[in-house]
Each structure stands twice: as structure tokens, then as C-alpha cells.
């Protein structure tokens, strides 16, 4: 076991990219959980993965392919709001099937497929960091603006309609932001690590937050903390990042005694 690699400049960009995503993904996850739509994150991640593979096979940029596919999924989800979890499940199956078939039948897709499924953060480059930083500049203020409409849609669903306003555009905007962030995370961290960072840290926020803002802060801190430890462990133990990150986050849930039946 060697942790000297942690201080290697080669890993600074991947670490910074992941840390930024580990702060934003739990915030997206908080609102997805609020809407009982956390499964959508896995659908977005699978779609982003398939899109990235298709882009690579077509000799295009994987980052763009992943983002476009996830944004398409978010748009479909937003427009088919009534289909709910069924739409996410169908998207997941379609994307998973397509992705695995590509990996099995195209030599170029095989290595990239493993990186996406295993979560090899260390291949993340400066382009990922730049795009993620730009996304953060857009997503964080947008989330702050969308927070009230999203909470109102859950607790007072008739609030806007009673005032002659339509809340759907705001909800659709959130879907697109979620799709964008999950896609960036998928091509940087891998499918399941991205999903784990959307799904698990909000459980801390919901369990220990004293109000909505403190829950958001707790979720983001749990995401960044869990990510940082997972990054160090996977590098030091020479293990793929995705499984280490997902397992560590789940263990934290068990150790801290978060009761899932109360959520």
C-alpha cells in the first residue's frame, strides 16, 4: 500500500474534478429525494454512459456524448412526468443494454466501457475539470433559485396553479440540470460512483439536518468527505475508484445508524 501517489501532481486534476462533483451531486440528490425521483439519477447515469460510448465509437468526444444523452433523458423524463419510475426503469434498461452490446461488439468501446462501469477517475483530464467548473457556476445559483419552487411542488403542489402560474418549466429546468451534473459525473467518476454520490449523502442530510439548509450542507459535506477518503483509499490500495467510493458511502450509512425506514 502506498499513499505517496496522493501527492503526485498527475492526480490533482482528477481529484479536484471529483471533489467539485462530490459537492454538487448530493445537492441534486437532495431534491431528487424530495421528489421521490432518486431513481432518475441512475437512469441519467446509464444514459450518459451509453451516450459516451456511442460518441467514442463515432470518433466524437465522450464528454459531449454523455452530456447529450443524459440531457435527452432528462427532457424525456420532464415531458413524461406522469410515467414516473417506469420511465426511469425503461431508460435504464435501454441504456444498459445498448452500452453492454457496444462494449461486447466494438473493440474501442471495451476499455472505455470498463472505465465507465468501474469508475476510473484517474483518466479524468483538464477538459473535465473545466466543464465541471463551468457547470458549477451555472448549476449552484440555479439550484438556489429553484429550491423554493421544488419544495413548493412537493408540499403545496397547487401553490403556483392557484396563482395562475405554471410550475412545469421550473421542474423541467431542474431535470435538465440534474441530467447535466449526473452526466459530467458519470464520464468522470463512473456510473455507480456518480449514483452513489447522488443517493447516499442526502440520507445523512435527511437524517441529521435540522432544517432544509443544514441538510443541504450536511449532504454536501458527506459527499466531499466520503469522496476524498475513497479517492485516497483507491489510490493507496490500487483499487478501482467506483466500487471503493460506493462501498465506503454505504458503510458510513451503516456505521452512523441512519434508519432507512424513516425516510
Amino acid at each position: 500500500m502506498s499513499f505517496e501517489l496522493l501527492f503526485d501532481p498527475l492526480f490533482r486534476v482528477p481529484f479536484a474534478t471529483g471533489l467539485l462533483l462530490a459537492a454538487i451531486l448530493p445537492l441534486i440528490g437532495m431534491y431528487l429525494r424530495l421528489r421521490n425521483e432518486w431513481l432518475a439519477a441512475l437512469a441519467f447515469a446509464q444514459m450518459a454512459s451509453a451516450g459516451a460510448l456511442v460518441a467514442m465509437v463515432l470518433d466524437g468526444p465522450m464528454l459531449a456524448g454523455g452530456v447529450l444523452a443524459a440531457l435527452l433523458a432528462a427532457l424525456v423524463k420532464g415531458l413524461l412526468a406522469r410515467a414516473g419510475a417506469s420511465a426511469y426503469a425503461l431508460m435504464m434498461l435501454l441504456a444498459w443494454g445498448g452500452g453492454v452490446l457496444l462494449v461486447a461488439n466494438h473493440p474501442l468501446a471495451e476499455q472505455a466501457g470498463h472505465a465507465l462501469f468501474d469508475g476510473q477517475l484517474y483518466f479524468t483530464g483538464e477538459a473535465h475539470l473545466l466543464v465541471t467548473a463551468l457547470a458549477a457556476v451555472v448549476v449552484l445559483p440555479a439550484l438556489a433559485w429553484l429550491s423554493r419552487p421544488l419544495l413548493l411542488a412537493r408540499f403545496f403542489p397547487e401553490f403556483y396553479r392557484a396563482r395562475g402560474q405554471n410550475e412545469r418549466p421550473r421542474l423541467l429546468l431542474f431535470d435538465l440540470l440534474a441530467g447535466l451534473v449526473v452526466a459530467l459525473a458519470t464520464v468522470s467518476l463512473g456510473v455507480m460512483a456518480a449514483f452513489a454520490l447522488v443517493f447516499v449523502p442526502p440520507l445523512f442530510g435527511w437524517r441529521f439536518g435540522r432544517g432544509w439548509r443544514s441538510a443541504l450542507v450536511l449532504a454536501a459535506l458527506a459527499g466531499m468527505g466520503g469522496y476524498s477518503v475513497a479517492f485516497a483509499l483507491s489510490l493507496g490500495l490500487d483499487q478501482p475508484f467506483g466500487p471503493v467510493c460506493a462501498s465506503l458511502l454505504v458503510m458510513l450509512i451503516v456505521v452512523t445508524g441512519v434508519k432507512l425506514d424513516r425516510m
Binding site: R148, F155, F156, E158, A162, G164, R262, M263
Partner: protein, 189 residues
Amino acid sequence: MAGDLLLRVAGLRAGYAGPVAGPLDFELRRGEIVGLAGPNGAGKSTLLKALWGGVRVFGGEVHKAPGLQISHQAQGFDDLRGVPLSGHDLLGLTGADPAGLPPWLAGRLGERLDRLSGGQLQFLRLWACLAAPADLVLLDEPTNNLDRAGVAHLADWLGRAHGGQGIVLVSHDHAFIDQVCTRVVEVGA
């Protein structure tokens, strides 16, 4: 003393796939509290929803004052177990002013909603609609799940503090309607 006209309802028939309630006729002015009374199944809640567009209108008309702001308190509520929301958060969503809350609730606004009793939570939810910035407040069975202290405080507050608004309420509690409403409109079965 009657205020300006907020709402004029004429021959209103409303429902979902087809009309299930109405006809309903009444006018509401600022400062008035109109109670919709009638037997179970008469469609009082459906007619209340029709006032803001929550159900289909099959006949008649609902004329609202220009720029009318409506706040609607619906029956039922999401399960709030585990939701990290405080009382301040909930009131902040609708912009409701906490001034006027009963003392037994005002001191607990910083706590999570899932730490409150069912009666306290129902009152807070009601207050989030009642004290939101609005010209017209629609209350659907506001006394449901309230304890006696809650009903008493609500009746007292409606009796003295709602002057800037018009209120339409539906309740199975005839004594409450008689106590707080300035006028009662019967809805036929």
C-alpha cells in the same frame, strides 16, 4: 362594512370527467368569510377547487377581481417522516407571516416538522396558507386533525384578523361554520 368585490360565482358546475357538483352562486367581498355547507357528497371541495382552476368547470362562470392572489389549503398532506424541514422553512415557502401563531407553536418553529404533533403540524400547514400573501384564501376542512386549542385559536384569529382578505371555507363542522362565517351558502346534493 363590505369591502371590494373579489369573486363572483354564477351557476358554477364543476367536476372531473363530468360535472359532479353545483350549481353554485355567490359573491365574496374583502373582509367576508363565506362557508360552503351541504351534505356529504355534495361536492363542496370540488367547487372550492374550481374557484382556482384545480378541476374542470363545466358550466357557469367564476369572475375574479383583476390580479387576484389566491391561496388554497387542500385536505390531506404528504407524509413528512424524515423530511428535514423546519417550521420556519415551511412558512417561508408560502411567505406566511408567523406573527399571530399561537404561543404553543410559535416557540417551536425552529424544530423539524417530524418532531411536532399531528395537530401542531396541521395548524402550521393551515397557517402557511392562511397567512400567505393573498387576497382570497380557500380553506378545505381547516379543522380536520386540529386539537381543541387549534380550533379555538383559528376561530379567534378568523374573527379578528382576516380583514384584508376574503375567505371561502368548506367544513363538516357546523358549529365552526356558524361561529366564524359571515355568510353561509348551501350546496345541494
